[in-house]
């Protein structure tokens, strides 16, 4: 991919499809209330896409993460999630626990 083409893609495929929602929100801010049915559906769709991205990154990860066995990746996600629930829904506690489990597991596996 040429350098100029990469920036063109960034503008057309990254910036525009994101910014359009902000600008629509900017327009909508004049009157419409939050939490209407349409936005509830939109939020569900967005959440499902994001969940799909997360699951794909864990199951079909990029190279460096793919060297860690799937069981360890899943175990780390599970432990991080439990820590998040246990420690007053703290994002930092969950992420830190997941990372520690992943790294210790990977080291134990000889990576």
């Amino acid at each position: 991919m040429s350098e100029l083409y990469a920036y063109l893609l960034l503008l057309l495929v990254g910036f525009l499809p994101t910014e359009i929602w902000r600008m629509l929100g900017f327009v909508a801010a004049h009157g419409i209330a939050d939490e209407t049915e349409l936005f509830l559906w939109g939020r569900s769709v967005a959440t499902a896409v994001l969940a799909g991205v997360i699951a794909k990154l864990i199951l079909f990860p990029p190279e460096a993460l793919a060297s860690v066995p799937l069981v360890i990746r899943l175990g780390a996600i599970g432990c991080g999630f439990l820590a998040f629930l246990a420690v007053r829904r703290s994002v930092l506690a969950g992420v830190a626990t997941g990372e520690v489990v992943l790294i210790v597991g990977a080291l134990a596996h000889g990576i």
Binding site: M1, A6, Y7, L9, L10, L11, L12, V13, G14, F15, P17, T18, E19, I20, W21, R22, G25, F26, A28, A29, F39, W41, G42, R43, S44, V45, A46, T47, A48, V49, L50, A51, G52, V53, I54, A55, K56, L57, I58, F60, P61, P62, E63, A64, L65, A76, I77, G80, F81, F84, R89, V91, L92, V95, G98, E99, L102, A106, L107, I111
Partner: protein, 246 residues
């Protein structure tokens, strides 16, 4: 309730309010999750062959971590431009209600429309959460500069993470590279879970986790888009049905 006079020196001028917002961003635990998330994104971008300037520009222009992950992984694995744009667009739809519910909070009777363009662009999950939490203690006429400071503060954290992640990814032992790449899925999973309030949110999360890899493994094309539309609509429909039957 009478409005409190602007006596707090932290808000005595627009610049002071901007700096107070900037400091508030760095004082929030979320700033460090943002740094970690962007370390993961930059490592991913480097893994897929993008350069640092491209990664930094994508943080500045897109400013939505999930969209950036989709953008980098889809383009990096040779995904089509139209499919990628649709998936990015679907994932960013959540920004509409966020901007819509934030702008009315920050504009005063004197605020021009133009002054709200920058806060709209800076709106992201982190900014939105902290703005809702902190704005009540900021005088109304300083809301715009405060939110701009907050947004620029979080974006500075993201850019610091982008640079750090980009340089760290190549030079670290494999186990730490794996750890950096793991930050993206785990921090997204946990922050998305934290944002789940309604049953439709929880169902959408569960359906997306199942459908995403399943549709990807079936090689149907547009798998993230279908994950969103099928999983999200199903989650919404079940939620609605349950509310109706109540």
């Amino acid at each position: 309730m009478s409005p409190a006079p602007t006596t707090n020196p932290a808000y005595c001028s627009r610049t002071a309010a901007f700096l107070a917002g900037f400091r508030a961003a760095w004082g929030a635990a979320l700033a460090y999750v943002v740094i970690g998330t962007y370390i993961g994104i930059a490592a991913l971008a480097r893994d897929f062959g993008f350069d640092l300037w491209w990664a930094a520009a994508s943080t500045l222009l897109v400013w939505a971590a999930p969209a950036q992950v989709i953008l980098v992984s889809a383009l990096g694995t040779g995904g089509g431009a139209v499919e990628t744009a649709l998936a990015v667009g679907v994932s960013s739809a959540r920004l509409l209600p966020m901007v819509m519910s934030l702008l009315p909070l920050i504009r005063g009777p004197q605020t021009s429309h133009r002054a709200l363009i920058l806060p709209a662009h800076l709106t992201a999950v982190s900014v939105w959460i902290e703005a809702l939490r902190l704005l009540q203690s900021v005088p109304r006429e300083r809301h715009v500069p405060f939110v701009n400071g907050l947004g620029v503060g979080f974006m500075a954290a993201a850019q610091a993470g982008t640079v750090a992640g980009y340089y760290l990814a190549g030079s670290l032992p494999p186990v730490l590279s794996a750890g950096l790449l793991f930050l993206t899925p785990i921090s997204f999973l946990i922050s998305t879970t934290r944002n789940c309030r309604l049953m439709s949110d929880w169902l959408a999360l569960a359906f997306g986790i199942v459908l995403g890899p399943l549709l990807a493994a079936l090689h149907l094309g547009l798998d993230l888009l279908w994950t969103g539309i099928v999983g999200g609509s199903l989650a919404y429909a079940i939620h609605r049905l349950r509310e109706t039957l109540k």
